[in-house]
Symmetry: C2
Subunit: 467 residues, 2 copies
């Protein structure tokens, strides 16, 4: 008597190790005093590094939370405000903030912005607007595990992977795009667009101009949409600097005047400001019809007016946002360097990254075989044997076994040190057998370009190999 969506969970992806690891963490969470052998949560891309800055702002601006403006309560106004266009003031602040994060190289128009209850909802709304059930979007792998739920579950849209590999640092090539397109054709799926995350989740890298140009060219040639999910744009802590699709689009010269109408950006304050609980996401679209339809669809997930009021006030303090962004990026960089250096000490490398709240960690040398079964086996060993919840590449649909996403911005430096000691213990647990395996496995690999991703390269080479 129920719908297929409710009675079977397949396209929701709840049984992925990504979510299962969280469940294990919930059962046995690490605490430095109360449960020092518990599981450390490194599977959650949360930004907990700069709460002191937010709290200090709130202390100096207590009237905002108290819902007061110039000594008068705005409670009634907020209680009733349910216009799906959102607070004009918040939208003005948001487009300013978006422009700031892109070095003011692009401007955004608040009339093209649609608010939604988180990026989860923003991405689903775009699917409802751009595709019919049974039509497809192409996504570069590895991708955020939640997309199976967000893009496919209720919309009936299909995801076709664009296979990216370690051979070029998981970059999107024109060839990989075309392959995915052909694959969709074979499956009899009409391709409606490509969705990318830039900066990438789980890679922690930003797309370069070449990639962006390939992507836009591809969208022009195939007459399809591009969705650029840029929810990590405020986390870019190192060069090269972030290039938004908005910037690349501005620089594109094409006869296809309509291409703008097929470019859509998703943004959120969950990662950059560390406020996932407040549920503030948004769509920025150059397509008027999409803006109109998405605005109506936002009725299904409006942002609480209480929260809109708080954020429009906080974002209007430009001195604060400038300081917040700069300091947060500095702190992210520091944590990332601690993680990368600790892993290197244990003989583990990472993809060179410049953004995000995680590293894309290469543990291929720890696999018992070059398979996803072996990856899952290693994941379980790490989770249950060494108390670290990290996300295996398979949960991100990575096409190569042995990569893991490791988050570092949701824990303290002390906890990170504990985690790193556990990683060392993990590697030691492989003993001589490990060193032997590594040699055998390295010699087995044939693709020449792969060698630079395989240990025991020193960290610096590894990090720089791609650039």
């Amino acid at each position: 008597m129920l719908s297929k969506k409710a009675s079977c969970d397949q396209s929701h992806g709840q049984d992925s190790p990504y979510f299962l690891g969280w469940q294990e963490y919930e059962k046995n969470s690490y605490h430095e005093v109360q449960n020092s052998t518990g599981i450390i949560q490194m599977g959650l891309a949360e930004n907990q590094l700069s709460f002191d800055l937010l709290e200090s702002w709130l202390e100096s601006n207590s009237d905002v939370l108290a819902l007061e403006r110039k000594g008068r309560s705005v409670f009634r106004e907020l209680a009733l405000f349910q216009d799906y266009h959102g607070f004009p003031d918040l939208k003005n602040r948001l487009v300013e903030f978006m422009a700031k994060l892109r070095g003011y190289k692009v401007e955004f128009d608040p009339n093209k912005l649609v608010l939604s209850a988180g990026a989860t909802s923003a991405n689903e709304i775009l699917m409802f607007c751009l595709a019919e059930p049974g039509e497809a979007f192409l996504l570069p792998t590895p991708y955020y595990p939640g997309y199976d739920r967000d893009l496919k579950w209720r919309t009936g849209v299909e995801i076709v992977p664009i296979h990216c590999t370690s051979s070029n640092g998981f970059r999107i090539t024109a060839c990989a795009l075309e392959d995915a397109y052909q694959q969709a054709q074979k499956l009899n799926l009409k391709v409606k667009g490509v969705l990318v995350t830039n900066p990438s989740n789980p890679l922690g890298t930003t797309m370069n101009r070449d990639e962006l140009n390939h992507l836009i060219d591809f969208a022009i040639t195939k007459r399809i949409h591009v969705i650029s999910d840029e929810i990590y744009s405020g986390t870019v802590f190192d060069s090269p600097s972030f290039v938004s699709i908005a910037e690349a689009l501005m620089e594109t010269s094409t006869d296809d005047a309509d291409i703008c109408n097929r470019i859509h950006i998703v943004y959120s304050l969950s990662k950059d400001l560390g406020l996932p609980g407040f549920r503030v996401g948004m769509i920025y679209s150059y397509n008027e019809t999409v803006v109109a339809a998405a605005t109506k669809m936002s009725s299904f997930g409006l942002v609480s007016s209480q929260t809109q009021y708080f954020l429009s006030n906080m974002l209007s303090d430009k001195k604060f946002t400038r300081k917040y962004v700069k300091e947060t990026q500095k702190r992210i960089r520091k944590m990332k360097e601690m993680l990368v250096s600790g892993l290197r000490g244990a003989g583990i490398g990472c993809l060179k990254s410049n953004a995000g709240l995680f590293c894309w960690v290469d543990m291929r040398h720890l696999l018992s075989s070059d398979t996803f079964e072996a990856e899952k086996e290693l994941w379980k060993r790490i989770l249950f044997g060494f108390g670290l919840n990290i996300s295996p590449g398979s949960s991100c649909h990575c096409s190569e076994p042995g990569w893991f996403r490791v988050c570092f911005a949701n824990i303290s430096q002390e906890t990170l040190q504990v985690a790193l000691r556990r990683v060392e213990a993990l590697v030691e647990s492989f003993g001589d057998n490990f060193n032997h395996q590594r040699t055998v496995r390295n010699s087995r690999r044939s693709r020449p370009s792969l060698s630079k991703w395989v240990l025991p390269l020193p960290y610096d080479d590894h990090e720089q190999a791609d650039r």
Copy 2:
């Protein structure tokens, strides 16, 4: 290149007079000083009667908005809280509040409650859980105009009307239910359930036990679901008292043990507490699978944790909620009596009501003919000629022309008086012609039961005719 949903708006229903009237109001809003000839908004079911009580609670509990608990900030905790199960504390308070509004005749289990960003989202989630695209739900007419958007637009579910008429005060009969079911069969639509609003929007009436028993029997016989949207349950200001489907279900004796698994309640704080801007809706389902699926779907519209915190604190103050509910019902009753008495003075009757923030007003005698064209003509005359935005029955899919939903809880007593003077002017504008027309039209009507709904019956008879 866009989906049908985005490129054509038919099933969204945006072009209904219900929404068009709002647009006109936005362009030319009444203000007693600044725009005394502007349009008065009586098309919006908002509860603005008890903000003073909410504000006074907030004044005495300023730590709650300041996000403080025992002098310590809970900001970090809230910023990160995005568990789709919601705050346990809020859910406990909500089920207590729901039980209170039902006179503690039923108990609710917080584990069966799913939070959502408003009832809009709750209703859509239930459609996604209970029906496939192309399957149908039966809805008694007249019904809330927003349902075309909420239930059909993105889900692809169809609505088949259960035609209720003035002959029995728009009550749902076993016969009307069966007719609708047969109609769906004819249209080759599989019926998955019935959705009712109780108290009814737009009627302002509560369902009696007979109706509820018919409904449950029907769901048992046909093996279908019942959704009871009870978002106005706190507005019942007069006898008979409110009977929730939860209470009727408890008293049902049946061999069909599975019927509980097909009963679902929708609730929200938008109407009863006057907080539509805060986006707090919920599903209460007796079906575990639906609870699990709906919880996952709530990811697309979670309630801001800032708002969850505020409400869980406010609802925990039982002395306050008791006073609030009692006082609000008293104020709703007073406004409703002012409206009904003023309309009666102008020779206009209403369906006898005991709940809601609106009356269901009978203007059939003012129609130039017994058609929906004439109703629309009258609606325009009232809107543009007399500056009142009210919702014509056609926007609620009523099967009889000439009924209008008139809201009274979003305006002050003074504004209501201005509105009533405009109603008098409207009626006077029909002049002698009106009296002539009325006589002619009355004599034309043949159904004997209709006579009691037709003016010039005195108000009291009219009100009591149905009970």
